[in-house]
């Protein structure tokens, strides 16, 4: 969470250097102008791990978008109870091996209720992806703009923003998120999740953007733009921001798995997405009672979640390696 070490370390490992590349982009502090996006894509295309990850991410995205179409083909909605698929004499165990997997229910059914797991996975993908991507978007906007502000204008602006960042990063974020979510009313949980996750997530990006902005602001081309009479806004958006592009892309990609894990973890603890809306974390929480007798019930959402987190982690890791290599590391 972050909920587990996974969440928190995934977010933190971002700043602390990884396997293939000895240093985070932060340390390379805009050593050179980034190469074109085409070069990055060429290098990534030959990386098996990155491409497999990207493939799975695209698959989950498509599944999330076309969820209603898929469930109309499979024939079950996520909220329908199928009493014929469970055995009331065995406490509601699914009938058939592998948790009731078969032609009727592709991924089996939930023990006890008989709801179709395939439909719940498909709709759960919507929840996971939309919350994680919205949180990433909001974090990126907040982190980049506040980081640029602090780094470019310095002085009092910088002091205030840096203090807020220090405070947020020293905060017991996961427990506080739980506290906030459990205290607030349950209406519109998804939006609330996005806001809460982003509120604690932006400083990690802002810190790096701030550092790079500070060093970029000293460079000749910025000075030239200033001498030519460009306004502060223009310098920040036209001169500095384009040079941060690769950093922002890498950091954002690496942040996504943390947010997916956090959403699933919060839902697992019962303060995330509200039932009956399906979420992968919540499905795994429900499967805890059944793990010994119906392992398929936790394996299906568990594997889906694990692969999604892994895909984003690997993709982000490889992306960073490529970008760092291009920047002359």
């Amino acid at each position: 969470m972050t909920s587990s070490p996974t969440d928190l370390t995934a977010a933190r490992a971002v700043g602390s250097g990884t396997g293939d590349t000895a240093e985070a982009p932060a340390a390379s502090a805009a050593g050179a102008l980034p190469a074109g996006a085409g070069g990055t894509w060429q290098a990534l295309r030959h990386d098996v791990g990155a491409m497999l990850g990207l493939g799975y991410i695209v698959l989950v995205t498509l599944v999330a978008i076309f969820a209603p179409v898929l469930t109309s083909i499979s024939g079950w909605t996520p909220y329908e109870f199928d009493q014929t698929a469970i055995d009331p004499d065995l406490g509601g165990m699914p009938i058939g091996p592998w948790g009731g997997m078969g032609a009727e229910h592709w991924f089996g059914v939930e023990p006890g209720s008989g709801r179709d797991i395939f439909a719940r996975i498909v709709y759960g993908a919507r929840v996971s992806m939309s919350i994680a991507l919205s949180a990433t978007l909001l974090t990126t906007v907040l982190g980049v703009s506040l980081g640029l502000l602090a780094g470019y204008f310095g002085g009092r602006v910088d002091v205030v923003i840096s203090r807020v960042m220090d405070f947020l990063m020293a905060f017991p974020a996961l427990i506080f998120m739980i506290a906030v979510l459990s205290a607030l009313p349950a209406s519109n949980r998804s939006a609330l999740l996005v806001v809460v996750i982003s509120a604690f997530g932006w400083p990690y990006l802002a810190r790096i953007v701030r550092g790079q902005t500070m060093s970029l602001a000293q460079r000749e081309f910025v000075e030239a733009a200033r001498a030519a009479g460009a306004s502060g806004t223009r310098i920040v958006f036209r001169e500095i921001l384009p040079n941060l592009r690769s950093t922002i892309i890498v950091m954002s990609t690496l942040a996504v798995p943390g947010y997916i894990g956090t959403e699933a973890g919060l839902s697992f603890l019962g303060v995330g997405v509200v039932p009956p809306a399906p979420s992968w974390g919540q499905m795994i929480a429900a499967s805890v009672k059944w793990y010994a007798v119906d392992p398929a019930y936790f394996v299906v959402p568990g594997v889906c979640l694990f692969l999604l987190v892994l895909s984003f982690t690997v993709l982000g890791d490889r992306l960073r390696a490529v970008v760092d290599a291009q920047e002359g590391r």
Binding site: T6, R12, P172, L174, F176, V180, A183, G302, T313
Partner: protein
């Protein structure tokens, strides 16, 4: 240096006060009727009235907050007359649902949580340092690439999924580990130890992966430094170069991260303790979410904030001791 420490302590206290304020705001200012919320799901109108009176919810916000902060240091008595409830210092709140002071509830469960945390920390430090050093020594080898892949995988598997997989495979299928039973250490040390094996592994694995990556990156960085090359060039045997010149600067950043991670472990332990049914502070917080016992959640939040602040302070102090550069600058 006392001055440096004093500033650190002051800013730590500031953070704590802000944590208190934010927590209090969330629970008392944002909620439509705190008394109803605190009372929980099975509640009587009489109990709501009692809570409302006891907590002084009719008073202005700052008065309530002031009383709360004073209570942490001096203890307080909620209400007066027959419904009065005592809460000794440090009073982090009072759970009206279980008729107990939150601090007492935490103290009862802290030893179990500490056992989980310390065991996991030992495990991840050993695994992380060993893995990181090995793959740095053998940079580019099969072992190195294998470790890198393994760390990415371990970082991606959610705690609770791993917990279920381990329980299913090790306990149900292979029966290598017994079903967890609540036993005291003195009664059955073997069962006691085996109870903790899976929680330790689950809690440690994500950190172990992150530490492996961190150690590897740090060691490789330091080996590229000029002074390491100089040491090798003047003819020191490689083992001495590593021991005298490379390891210390490579491992000092780990101390910082370790301090903060260990202090922040309460958050991670929440899920692990819940999945394995370990009766620690984390499980208490998770159960309180289900019962909507907000004073307990609030108390645990404050405790977590306190631990993080203290952890940061300890790291600062330890850092001045092990890193000479910091000593000079301060």
């Amino acid at each position: 240096m006392p001055r440096f420490l004093l500033t650190r302590i002051m800013s730590g206290l500031m953070v704590l006060l802000l944590v208190c304020l934010f927590t209090y705001l969330v629970f008392f200012a944002l909620s439509p009727d705190p008394a109803v919320q605190i009372c929980g799901k099975s509640c009587t109108p009489e109990l709501i009235d009692q809570i409302r009176g006891n907590l002084g919810l009719d008073q202005p916000f700052w008065t309530q907050f002031f009383l709360f902060v004073v209570g942490i240091f001096a203890g307080r008595t909620y209400g007066d007359g027959a419904g009065a409830v005592d809460c000794a210092a440090p009073c982090l709140g009072y759970s009206f649902q279980s008729s107990q002071a939150v601090w007492d509830m935490i103290v009862q469960r802290l030893p179990v949580s500490a056992t989980v945390a310390v065991g996991a920390a030992v495990l991840w430090l050993l695994a992380g340092l060993a893995g990181g050093l090995l793959s740095a020594v053998k940079e580019g080898s099969f072992l190195d690439r294998f470790t890198t892949g393994l760390t990415l995988t371990s970082m991606s598997i959610p705690n609770y999924v791993l917990a279920l997989v381990l329980q299913y495979v090790l306990v149900v299928q292979l029966q290598w580990l017994p079903f967890p039973q609540a036993v005291a250490f003195a009664d059955d040390p073997v069962q006691w130890f085996l109870n903790f094996v899976m929680p330790w592994m689950v809690l440690a694995i994500g950190y172990a992966a992150a530490y492996t990556r961190l150690t590897r990156a740090n060691v490789l960085d330091v080996l590229r430094e000029n002074y390491v090359r100089t040491a090798a060039a003047k003819g020191l045997p490689q083992s001495l170069v590593w021991r005298r010149h490379a390891l210390r600067p490579a491992l000092t950043p780990i101390v910082t991260i370790f301090g903060m991670d260990f202090a922040g472990l309460l958050g991670g332990a929440l899920i692990t303790e819940t999945v394995f049914g370990i009766n620690g502070v984390g499980k208490m917080a998770a159960d309180s979410i289900a019962r909507n016992d907000q004073p307990v959640i609030m108390g645990v939040t404050l405790l977590a904030g306190f631990l993080v602040v203290v952890g940061n302070l300890v790291v600062d102090v330890v850092y001045t001791a092990i890193d000479p550069r910091v000593r000079v600058n301060a």
